[in-house]
Symmetry: C2
DNA sequence: GTTTTATTAAAACAAACGTTTGATAAAATA
DNA sequence: TATTTTATCAAACGTTTGTTTTAATAAAAC
């Protein structure tokens, strides 16, 4: 049907699941704790999403889509200016979208950040689901790394991109905690975070 | 008593728990799956460890102790040679012990690596337990970072050390997977991994 | 006005969970 | 030798898990 009531129910479930998955992980979050906080019926979860695993996928997809889209768009812009962009420019294109999503998520911003950080350190098969949802931009960036750093093997570039992602995920997980890089989600803070991360990672990638 | 039977039981539980916690996380690992693979009685877990949480602490402590000891020892040696060692030397002192532990763990080496990588991305309160067990060397290294890099604030050094740890944990988690830095646990491979990680991180820390 | 269709609600399901209990026997201590 | 301690075991505890089933409700389509 798609009336306003069901939309609210579905979105309420997504929002609460996002927060609880981020806090307690997939296995540590029960559907009953979700429906309790979302104030909906237990059946609503299976009606709207089918299973706990599909609920997790839905939460992940909601965040991953704009991130991947943004990363591909920025990489294209980046390579439109310069056929062989600097690794700094490529890094900035990769790192900015996830931080931008946080900025555009209103009250959910911190939950978004923490969920992004959490979802990809989940044990399999849940971690694989998250990897799937985010992998749409991975190959393009691996290729871009190769063009910006032509002196490294594919294997070397692969684990380096992997460490870039791990670093980014840690920054997201720690958002708003003491001494964390992300201290609020103001545009200025996001910009500063991108700059510091690019500086931190670029020189390592060249090593 | 400490007869050979009980020692075997206790160690069997530790070994299997280490592997399953590493694979499936704390919440994703049931005590019944542990005792099934360890071929011991369910009560043996509570008899030897008291609770699931204390079993996790025991697994963590077994690995963390030699790591922390090694890190403190190497840092002291490092500063004995040079009162203000390079950040590369400090990094090497920090990174070597966890990789050394893997090398000295025989058949458990990959499980050790993966558990180290997993235990500190566990949701609280489990993650806090792991943090506790590993934190014995943290303050000393934060101070050492400050001496090697005197131009940065404590806050900046704190998140930078945090990212060093996150990078190291990722390398450990991915051990023996395709394109991973750690591809086997030979002394040569470990040495090569340390060198690459130091190179990757040192320049970022200076930025 | 009747029949679909979409959504919520409540109850029940079998399975799995961490933990506790009480019995048993071997080992250590006296 | 008698008593206590240590270790192991099967069985059961009450609770919680994800999922399914069965009804009830209300809006939409015919």
């Amino acid at each position: 049907m798609t009336n306003s009531v069901s939309v609210d129910t579905k979105e309420q479930i997504l929002n609460v699941a996002e927060r609880l998955f981020a806090e307690n992980g997939f296995a540590g979050t029960s559907l009953r704790s979700v429906i309790r906080e979302a104030d909906v019926n237990l059946s609503a979860v299976h009606y709207h999403f089918g299973s706990k695993e599909e609920l997790f996928r839905a939460v992940t997809a909601r965040i991953a889509k704009p991130v991947v889209t943004g990363q591909l768009k920025r990489l294209a812009q980046c390579e439109a200016k310069n056929s062989t962009p600097s690794i700094e420019a490529v890094l900035e294109a990769f790192i900015t979208p996830p931080l931008e999503v946080i900025l555009n998520s209103g009250e959910r911003s911190i939950d978004c950040a923490r969920f992004m950080g959490r979802c990809r350190v989940e044990p399999d098969p849940i971690g694989k689901i998250a990897e799937q949802e985010f992998q749409g931009s991975k190959k393009a960036y691996l290729d871009a790394f190769g063009r910006s750093l032509p002196n490294f093997s594919r294997t070397e570039l692969t684990w380096k991109l992997d460490l870039v992602i791990a670093t980014l995920l840690r920054v997201l997980t720690e958002a708003n905690k003491p001494n964390a890089l992300i201290q609020n989600n103001s545009p200025l803070s996001i910009q500063a975070t991108v700059s510091k991360l690019v500086a931190f990672l670029a020189s390592g990638l060249r090593s």
